[in-house]
Subunit: 583 residues, 2 copies
Amino acid sequence: MEPQKLDALRHSAAHMLAAAVLELYPGTKLAIGPTIENGFYYDFKFPEGVSLSENDLPKIEEEMKAIAKGGHAFVRKEVTVAEAKKFEKDQPFKLELIDEFAKESKILTLYESGPFTDLCRGGHAANTKEIPLDGLKLQKLAGAYWRGSEKKPMLTRIYGLLFANRKELAVHLNMLEEAKKRDHRKIGQDQQLFFFDDLIGKGLVLWQPKGTIIRDEIEKLAKEMEHKGGYVRVATPHLAKEETYITSGHLPYYKDSMYPAMAMDDGTYYLKAMNCPHHHVIYRHEPHSYRDLPIRIAEYGTCYRNELSGTLAGLLRVRALTMNDAHIYCRQDQIKQEFQSVLELMMKYFAIFGLEDYWFRLSKWDPQHTEKYINEPANWEIAESAIREVLQEMKVQFVEADDEAAFYGPKVDVMFKSVVGREETMSTVQLDFAAKKRFELSYTDETGQANNGVFVIHRAPLSTHERFMAFLIEHYAGIWPVWLSPIQVLLAPVSVKHADGADVLSKELDADGIRVSVDAADETVGKKVRNAAGKKIPYIVVVGDKELAGEEWMIRVRGQEDQVKMSKADFVAKVLREIKERL
Amino acid sequence: MEPQKLDALRHSAAHMLAAAVLELYPGTKLAIGPTIENGFYYDFKFPEGVSLSENDLPKIEEEMKAIAKGGHAFVRKEVTVAEAKKFEKDQPFKLELIDEFAKESKILTLYESGPFTDLCRGGHAANTKEIPLDGLKLQKLAGAYWRGSEKKPMLTRIYGLLFANRKELAVHLNMLEEAKKRDHRKIGQDQQLFFFDDLIGKGLVLWQPKGTIIRDEIEKLAKEMEHKGGYVRVATPHLAKEETYITSGHLPYYKDSMYPAMAMDDGTYYLKAMNCPHHHVIYRHEPHSYRDLPIRIAEYGTCYRNELSGTLAGLLRVRALTMNDAHIYCRQDQIKQEFQSVLELMMKYFAIFGLEDYWFRLSKWDPQHTEKYINEPANWEIAESAIREVLQEMKVQFVEADDEAAFYGPKVDVMFKSVVGREETMSTVQLDFAAKKRFELSYTDETGQANNGVFVIHRAPLSTHERFMAFLIEHYAGIWPVWLSPIQVLLAPVSVKHADGADVLSKELDADGIRVSVDAADETVGKKVRNAAGKKIPYIVVVGDKELAGEEWMIRVRGQEDQVKMSKADFVAKVLREIKERL
């Protein structure tokens, strides 16, 4: 179905929702009922004494359907402001809206559909019969302030989903269910990966030992990959003087997003808003010849954002973010090659994590809006063409988007479709022609002259630890591949008398480089195996007399019914291979 | 010589210095002239037009010696305040001192030694002849405010060294010379390890790629060693809410040392003063059984200190310190074992770095000063005895010091004598009985009850990256062992036509895990070898036709005259073994 058509149906359904509520709860005051992604909502002020719960939604949904089945045409009526006010005389929120609309127009519109008429600007189906009732579901309740202001009355918002048919609704409900199961906060807590603590403060992640293992494995991967890619690593402080961010341009424009200033005896300091200024300072600390470029400076750097406490959401919106950041300093003639190398590096990362559903977006400036961008048309032209050529030559799927660039240059965003169908931007590569001037970046060119033509590529292929961890938890549903599993092998001694033997084995596997744990609890083997399976541990080995005597082991492999028989040596080799190959 | 005797001689020498200055620069105003470690100084206000340089010091020193040789007795004279003022009528700083001394005593003392008399409380040699003139050396000039206040006049301070004889002076001068050569700031800059930048701010280290390699190697070692020791790793944010530090007791007492507060929409935040509160919060986030203890939580954590900008000194006093920190949570019956394991771990670290000249100090509380300590005599007794037993059983060299403990428990400090003869405390292990109450730390004991008897051991065997790096640079004089060398092997192609071959070799060695660099500059081999030797690179391989043809290599080994002949495979194996064994 066309998006516009579906949107009109959703709008029509919102009218039906209001009609049903008025039918069931006479005296309810109506606020607004717009469409949203996947459906619609309507905000209501219920009469004194009525307190809705989600159990009431099926009843309202039935009433909506009954009214819609009546087959009422949506009839448009033009009215004067006075007529509108008269019609809505018992609806205080509508009266407030009428006053507002009246500033723009003397004629307002009412839409009648059978028993219910609403103040509305239009955009409906022709008849309520057109609403695909088998694609309809009232979803949930929420509180919402009138006009979004906490100084105004609290209303009850009813959310509805509407799809073209039963099947599309089912697909969506299934996806929601899956997303709930894969919720990174729940899995993060179940698996003891990370938490937040009110004493420490909001939006600040405390990584527990198991989460730190995954984090460290990702850092290890990044260090390996980027070492191969010719990057060098640095370590820079988490703060800098005000002057740094005036030079970079973050101050004063970005000040609200930054943490509060700290006045020291020698000036004002801020927590890092970005890692780039620190890297620029490292670049310019030593002289560079044209032969030394490109110089690729990488760091797991932490940046700080002063998010409002109410907007924080698990790992997806935090106040301190640690990212696999790097900045590449290159000459103009190196831009294409470096951009391509970065994109190839990204694609290698994605392959390792089994991420396949992605595409690229070339985000360009808009020459009509020079106030938003550094106004160097020649540089934009050179840079955008170079990047487009790279994308074309690499034969990757990409779209172009105007007016989406960074102020300092064009960028390539990598767009993902997550396993639960959500589209998001995970990684980005940005070209920067502003830094060279702001930070006086230069190199000595072939003629021995200082050359200011240093182009900077900003890139963070693995995003931040925080966002990437949330993404990976959802992607794997907590079933980590062997190389990322906090515990790779669980040894379950059959009885207390096998515990010491299991400990010895455990030390052996640990020395081999396998993350191993022993479940020495005084419980049945069955219970230990079930526990370990619940924790999604890749391999479980029950340790009894035979295993300790050196006979072949029976390996319980995660997700497999049948056990696998294998010698200890073969098993160790298999696990080590999987770790090495990052399977 | 007895320290007290030497101090009296130094004090006497200070009088000689003032006498000599008055002789050479009549009209000079005298301030004060105390003794200090290794010598003495005197502060002067020289007459208008006199601008002293270090070139003038030999002349003053000669004059001092000439006066001292005169063999003048130090004669004590008691005078009234009025008499003292009359005597010092031309000396404004002395007059100010007299007014101050007069508050305490009606009778002041002057000391006469031949031509020079000074207001002084005494403590001299009997005669100026006793001053060991061959142990005397005027060392340097510095500016110093009168009474240390920037609102008062700037004076000229002359520093002098005085030892019992020529030999002791020579030893000290030699040590100063050695310390200067090994100065971590100089070597850090020469070797491009780290720097500070005024734009970023004071006391904030920017670790360059080569310094980051050393840092990373140290972290890798720590991760290995502490993994073997049964530690788990966590990662915690660099800040916390005010409430955290009220709970820990850092606020309000430690506030001046902390960075300024940051007011956010949900409370006040501070940069980390310590890592312990974050670890305590991680400990208590999950329930623990008595069987789970000890739990050892480790992190390379960064702490922040609001040092005054004027007191910062290279890596030795910085504003952000990253340390190999850990906290061990154990039962009382585990204290001894855990303390011993920590000391053993430390000694393993010291052996790896070739640190041999150290001893331990058991720092105890003072029951006479209960206001400085948590007042739990029984716990102090248990803890101090336990630690003493550990030190005795380990048969290590240790001293005991009263009134040197942390407020929350006794500690063991590791005292080092550096290669240049300076004593310093590098590492510390502290036992803490306060945290369990403050942070409500507990475990479930054998009876199933919550037990609050959780003892915490704080330990940081490798100190901070900053201090340890300064220490190591001095210790190795910048001649890093192979495993820490930022570049382990330098390939020096004989001519431009061997450059590609050297690059291929370089990639091979890199893939083997060796840090290798190619000097492809269009210069003579001799120059390349000299450059690399200057950079203290452990191995240099000249790459010419023979080497590329697979013949045996001639290896130039750092610090050795003769080259070593070796096949490529043997050389690679040798370097890899040295890396693995941390040689």
